[in-house]
């Protein structure tokens, strides 16, 4: 009994190889191609997603920086505006104070002057009147000299009285 069959041995190898080639070409090939396509697809998807994420992160930091700088600028602007406003206000107040002081001073001087004028007028007439009154009271006419002395005295006394 021949157990080992050389013909079967060789022909089975050949048969298997033919079967393998057919199966590889028509059965395994399309499936492997599809798997490869899917692998590439998934890979590109992952790469794309990673790139997108990086880009988004970059944009976000950029925007944050931009926002931060804008905020800084606004704050600076506000600060300078406030300082300028303060200065202006102080100036205005100072000007107003100076103006009012000046007006006050002018008015005071005016009043003073008018008062002096009025006083001198009043004093002249009061002294004249006094002398005339004293003349009438004394019923004597005074000498021109005495008259002047009396007026001067009266003026002096009145001046003391007033002042």
């Amino acid at each position: 009994m021949q157990v080992f069959e050389l013909g079967t041995f060789l022909v089975s190898i050949v048969t298997f190889l033919i079967m393998f080639l057919i199966i590889k070409r028509y059965g395994f090939g399309p499936m492997a191609k599809m798997l490869e396509k899917r692998r590439l697809y998934v890979e590109t998807q992952i790469t794309d997603a990673e790139q997108n994420r990086l880009q988004a992160e970059r944009f976000l930091t950029e925007q944050q920086q931009l926002l931060e700088s804008a905020r800084q600028q606004a704050k600076e602007l506000l600060d300078t505006a406030r300082i300028r406003a303060d200065e202006m206000a102080r100036e205005i107040v100072n000007d107003a104070q100076a103006e009012s002081r000046r007006l006050l001073e002018e008015n005071r001087q005016l009043i003073e002057r008018e008062r002096a004028e009025v006083l001198s007028g009043v004093m002249a007439s009061v002294s004249g009147l006094t002398v005339e009154l004293s003349e009438k009271l004394l019923r004597r006419s005074l000498s021109h000299e005495a008259h002047r002395e009396m007026v001067e005295e009266a003026e002096k006394l009145l001046g003391e009285l007033i002042c």
Binding site: E5, L6, G7, T8, I13, Y26, F28, M34
Partner: protein, 254 residues
């Protein structure tokens, strides 16, 4: 020993027709299943048979990754490993699902069915049988793998020969590996079929109680397990043998 029909029965170059026919049938079954699975190929929503085949490819690839040094070699061996595992799986199961034999009284000399062989087989001529239950076929597969592994190894002759200088006992392995590789598959499948055949001849009590039935059921379940495992083992050993000879970790350009 059943009387297989042979071509060139009287020469040294005799061919077991049933084995070869069953190999072609197995190949056709595999091809039809694969064609069905790729009929509605969908990259994004795989469904049905496509899922199963994708899982099988993935399983084979992982098996090869476990035993081979680099991803390039894995991708190179993947078509062969996948074909091998699914081919052997179908081949082993074909003999399990059914074995058909006819009773032939007349010798057919040109097919090698002689009176003597018919007498030895009690006139039984098998027509449907596992191709892997034939020792010549499994040894053929094993020797094919052996040749392939050495062809891969000889792409880097220096490392290939240095490998044997470093480990002279490896030369002995080169003879025992293909032998055990083929005989393991043959032995498991042949034993399964032989014992199943023996159980089938158990007597039927009172013409209604098949005494062999529970044994047959248990044995067939066990054979199914063995058939699956053997397809896996044969393929993983193939990737292992080729992987051992893949020097320089995958400088294979195919």
């Amino acid at each position: 020993m059943p009387a297989f029909p042979y071509l060139f029965a009287n020469s040294i170059f005799r061919i077991n027709l049933i084995t070869i026919a069953m190999m072609i049938l197995t190949g056709l079954v595999v091809l039809i299943v694969l064609r069905l699975s790729i009929r509605k190929l969908d990259m994004r929503n795989p469904r049905g048979l496509q899922n199963l085949i994708e899982w099988a490819i993935d399983f084979t690839a992982n098996m090869a990754r476990d035993t081979m040094p680099s991803e390039q070699v894995v991708q190179w061996i993947l078509p062969l490993a996948f074909t091998m595992v699914i081919f052997l799986f179908v081949a082993n199961w074909l003999g399990l699902i059914a074995t058909i034999a006819i009773h032939q009284q007349q010798p057919i000399p040109w097919l090698g069915i002689t009176a003597q062989s018919l007498a030895m087989a009690h006139g039984e001529v098998p027509l449907f049988d596992s191709p892997t239950a034939n020792m010549s076929m499994t040894l053929g597969m094993a020797v094919m793998v052996w040749v392939l592994s050495h062809a891969v190894g000889l792409r880097h002759p220096r490392q290939y020969f240095w490998h044997f200088v470093k480990n002279p006992l490896g030369i002995v392995e080169e003879f025992t590996n293909p032998l055990t590789h083929g005989m393991r598959l043959f032995g498991n499948i042949f034993a399964g079929e032989a014992l199943a055949g023996a159980i089938l001849t158990m007597p039927i009590l009172f013409g209604v109680v098949p005494t062999g039935f529970p044994f047959l059921l248990i044995w067939l379940l066990y054979c199914g397990f063995v058939s699956t495992i053997q397809a896996y083992i044969f393929t993983i050993l193939m990737t292992l043998y080729v992987g051992q000879k893949s020097f320089h970790g995958g400088v294979h350009h195919t």
